[in-house]
């Protein structure tokens, strides 16, 4: 039943504003694909183009091999879950879920059966006669989900579905969504600005910024090997340290805060560079050789780890996490520390942060 969704050179402008620029990628059949980016990056616009609510200015979107550019929204057979749930307030829970089936002319007995099946999947079977006003946000979200999947859509589109829920419910609902998606094997495009949510739920993530897709990869790859400084910064936390790539004889060195570390690059590069270093990969040590000197400015104890703000000799401040289980004593503001750079734990970008050098 599910289909793949292919984007070919898709672009969209709102007047002068270029909302989407040349997006080309394919969401595979049965895949859970997340569009992740800050607000205004174009992720919702792209989703709404698939749904048929924003016309496609140029390029093609296809379901399997069928171009859908000119198919009106109500004939695309997709399920959509909205940020604010969009539950019809003048219908009961049952009527809400049955709405799309009635439009398809499904027989009454089959409607009953399929609605109850969908409500059971989202654990709402007991509340079918309630009116939406009597439901909590989380319950409304479950109804929205049931309403979208009951029509057996070719793809499920979700626009920030969890952003109006409180933190605990959000985690619970994302598990529900993931399990449901897996058991139904339904192609899903999910939009969010929450990187943790994206990492937790997706098969693949497409990171967007300013209308451009920055990187498409699995959560692990995106986290470990961001393709540019934006992705490194947007997914998780990264420290950026100014450095230089220098060539001494035949050996390339990374020159960072007066420390030179041998390094091998993908391609030849010399000059200014940006090191991207995750706080958990900042190794605090007692070694004096080839380590960067710093001073603890602020220590925040967070239970399983302590977060330190460290002032480096070059005036930059970085964050470091040190895990409680790994240390016997805590550091205090004013303490001197030494930082060791492991070249296999860093990412390195050119001076503009656009090209990955490792």
């Amino acid at each position: 039943m599910s289909f793949s969704v292919r984007f070919d050179e898709v672009s969209k402008n709102f007047g002068e504003f270029r909302a989407i620029q040349n997006a080309s990628f394919t969401v595979e059949k049965g895949e859970f694909f997340t569009l992740l980016g800050p607000s205004g990056c174009g992720k919702t616009t792209l989703l709404r183009m698939v749904a048929g609510f924003n016309p496609i200015d140029s390029g093609k979107i296809s379901f399997d091999d069928k171009i859908i550019n000119n198919i009106p929204a109500h004939k695309r057979n997709i399920g959509m879950v909205f940020q604010n749930y969009a539950i019809f307030p003048h219908m009961t829970v049952f009527e809400n879920v049955a709405y799309g089936l009635k439009a398809r002319g499904v027989s009454r007995s089959e409607i009953d059966e399929r609605v109850m099946e969908a409500l059971t999947m989202v654990k709402m079977e007991g509340l079918k006669d309630r009116s939406p006003q009597q439901l909590s946000g989380g319950q409304q979200q479950r109804i929205a989900l049931a309403r979208a999947i009951v029509i057996r859509p070719g793809a499920l589109l979700m626009d920030e579905p969890l952003s109006n829920l409180d933190a605990k419910l959000r985690v619970e609902m994302r598990t529900t969504i993931k399990k449901l998606q897996q058991s139904l094997g339904i192609t899903t495009i999910y939009v969010t600005h929450d990187q943790e949510e994206a990492l937790a739920i997706s098969d693949r993530i497409g990171v967007m910024k300013d209308g451009f897709i920055q990187q498409i990869d699995s959560p692990e790859v995106i986290y470990k090997h961001p393709e540019n400084a934006f992705v490194a910064n947007f997914i998780g936390t990264s420290n950026f340290i100014e450095s230089k790539i220098i060539q001494i004889g035949s050996q390339t060195y990374l020159d960072v805060v007066n420390v030179q570390i041998p390094i091998s690059l993908k391609e030849n590069y010399e000059g200014e560079a940006k090191i991207s270093l995750r706080p958990e990969h900042v190794y605090l040590t007692e070694e004096k050789d080839n380590t960067i000197k710093g001073e603890i400015q602020l220590a925040t104890f967070l239970g399983d780890f302590t977060k330190y703000e460290i002032l480096l000799e070059n005036g930059q401040t970085i964050e470091a996490n040190e895990y409680t289980k790994d240390v016997s004593s805590f550091r205090k503001p004013g303490d001197e520390v030494r930082i060791k750079i492991h070249t296999d734990k860093i990412n390195l970008f050119d001076s503009k942060g656009e090209v990955a050098l490792l």
Binding site: A51, G52, F53, P55, I56, D57, S58, N69, N70, P72, A73, H74, K75, R76, N77, I78, G79, M80, F82, Q83, N84, A86, I87, F88, P89, H90, Y99, G100, A103, R104, A144, R147, A148, I151, L157
Partner: protein
């Protein structure tokens, strides 16, 4: 891609937009342009003579001055009553708040000319109170002229200021005033530096509403003004004597009055646009306990104002049951007035409700469709609709009547003298109420609800009827109630457009009063008041509120 755009151009909503604009063009724009052109043609050739006459002849020019003076004073008077009353009712622990609110709304909803007529019955040459006072040797000041108009306008329109301002006062979050107190500012100083500036735009909006409505009102100055002639009255008399008199003068006067109200509307827009504080109170302001003595005074003030505003309705209701001998009330009660109106004026009663019902059905349908276009399908066409549909706000009823009559008294569209032209004028004049409340609710309905329905496989048009329309209904109906009430009470365009067969209740009241048939006028007015009250009470029951947006 190109096909895509083309398909969009001719989508069903664009077709409806174009069709609506066509209708608006024929029935609103064309008559206005015609009126404008006509004001420049006196004897078949272009001339600005009538404009020259207007500004040079005191006979005409004084009416503009009179209008502006009486409306200015009425605005000041209405603010002087409405503002303190709103503050007292929202902020102090006076009793019967709900009752006060409902009475204020009721008094606003009955037509102003009934007020004028009642005050004549009370304080006129042969009025009850006049006779009572002259019995003990006191001659009260005359009710006719400037003073009478001012009295009626002030008591009639202060509810605008009251309703606007009490709404605003309730939307100030209590934290704002608490912050002021926390910073060491309290009492009167807090009122002047925090509370008052926050509601100032609303006061201005209410005050200008008073000004616009008094400027447009025709019935009051016509009945009670006598020698004090204001613009709408002269528009009417010029128009009625047009066959012998100055043919372009009525048009010129109409244009001038439209210019005045447009200027005021822009002034208001400009002022409010500069200081629009969007507020919604999470915690509404606290109600303060007053000491018994102050509480009594505050309560008395509110009750006196409410009583004076309600007095016309009470007067018509009582006098409708008093025996009459020709124009004179005599001792004793009877139902004669009612019997005689059902005998003589049954047609007017039937007309009123028939016309209003047809008009309201058109307004509800058009209101839903147009507000959907205006809110959801924003483009150049629908913005034009939005602007044009609100035009009648600045056109006084008498002027609209003249405008329509001039445009549609000959083929291709000849509907003068028919029910159609009456209904047309009602729809044009009162549709803005329905539109405004419909767009209001539509802005609150998230578009994703429509989209959810569409993505579930229901076409956009079907979605409108299955999802959007049912959700809009409460807003549409609350606007429609106001449209309905003001329609059954409509006088100023009806008086221009009616013929013997199409007279309405308000027309009959007016001519009965002019003829001295006070008893029948009172009975007719009572029927209107009764229907108005019932409509309002139904409205309050259905919307579960005791306020209304006017």
């Amino acid at each position: 891609m190109k096909q895509n755009r083309k398909a969009e151009m001719f989508s069903i909503w664009n077709l409806i937009s174009i069709f609506s604009l066509l209708i608006i063009g024929i029935f609103i724009i064309y008559p206005l342009i015609r009126l404008f052109i006509k004001s420049f043609f006196e004897t078949g050739s272009f001339s600005i003579q009538s404009y020259k006459d207007f500004f040079s002849l005191p006979y005409y020019f004084s009416t503009l001055k009179n209008s502006l003076i009486v409306c200015t004073f009425a605005t000041i008077g209405a603010t002087a009553i409405g503002l303190p009353m709103a503050y007292i009712v929202t902020r102090y622990n006076i009793p019967c708040k709900r009752f006060i609110n409902i009475c204020v709304i009721l008094s606003l909803m009955s037509p102003p000319f009934i007020g004028a007529y009642s005050w004549i019955v009370l304080l006129g040459r042969n009025g009850f109170v006049t006779n009572l006072l002259s019995g003990i040797g006191i001659t009260p000041p005359t009710i006719y002229g400037f003073g009478g108009i001012l009295l009626v306008f002030t008591l009639k329109f202060y509810p605008y200021v009251y309703l606007y301002v009490s709404g605003a006062l309730q939307s100030i979050d209590s934290s704002l005033e608490e912050a002021a107190e926390n910073l060491g500012v309290s009492g009167l100083k807090k009122l002047i530096t925090v509370t008052f500036p926050l509601v100032l735009p609303t006061i201005a909006a209410g005050a200008l509403m008073v000004f616009m409505t008094s400027l447009a009102d025709f019935g009051t100055p016509m009945l009670i003004g006598e020698g004090y002639r204001v613009l709408p009255v002269v528009v009417y008399t010029e128009f009625m004597s047009e066959t012998g008199g100055n043919t372009s003068m009525a048009s010129t006067l109409s244009i001038i009055i439209i210019c005045c109200s447009t200027a005021i509307l822009f002034l208001q827009k400009w002022y409010i646009g500069r200081r629009n504080y969007q507020m919604s109170a999470l915690r509404p302001p606290k109600v303060k306990e007053l000491k018994p003595y102050s509480r009594f005074l505050a309560t008395a003030f509110c009750f006196v104002c409410v009583f004076l505003a309600m007095l016309p309705q009470i007067t018509v209701l009582v006098t409708s049951f008093i025996k009459t001998n020709g124009p004179i009330f005599v001792k004793g009660f009877s139902f004669d007035s009612y019997l005689s109106i059902f005998y003589k004026l049954g047609r007017n009663i039937k007309n009123t409700f028939a016309f209003s019902t047809v008009a309201i059905l058109i307004m509800v349908a058009a209101g839903m469709l147009l507000s959907y276009l205006i809110v959801r399908k924003r483009n150049k066409l629908t913005t034009a609709i939005d602007v044009f549909i609100m035009l009648p706000y600045v056109i006084p009823g008498a002027v609209l009547g003249i405008t329509l009559l001039g445009a549609f008294n000959k083929p291709p569209i000849m509907i003068s003298g028919t029910a159609a032209i009456m209904i047309l004028s009602y729809v044009i004049r009162k549709l803005p109420y329905t539109i405004r409340s419909s767009t209001g609710i539509l802005y609150q309905i998230d578009q994703s609800i429509d989209e959810a329905s569409i993505s579930l496989g229901v076409s956009p048009i079907k979605t409108f009827f299955k999802v959007t329309a049912p959700m809009m209904m409460p807003g549409v109906l609350s606007g429609a109630v106001i449209s309905w009430i003001t329609t059954i009470n409509e006088l100023s365009s009806s008086i221009i457009l009616y013929t013997g067969k199409t007279g309405t209740i308000s027309v009959a009241i007016y001519s009965e009063v002019v003829r001295g048939g006070y008893g029948t006028a009172a009975a007719l007015a009572s029927i209107l008041t009764l229907v108005t009250t019932i409509s309002l009470l139904i409205f309050f029951a259905v919307t579960k509120s005791d306020s209304i947006s006017v």
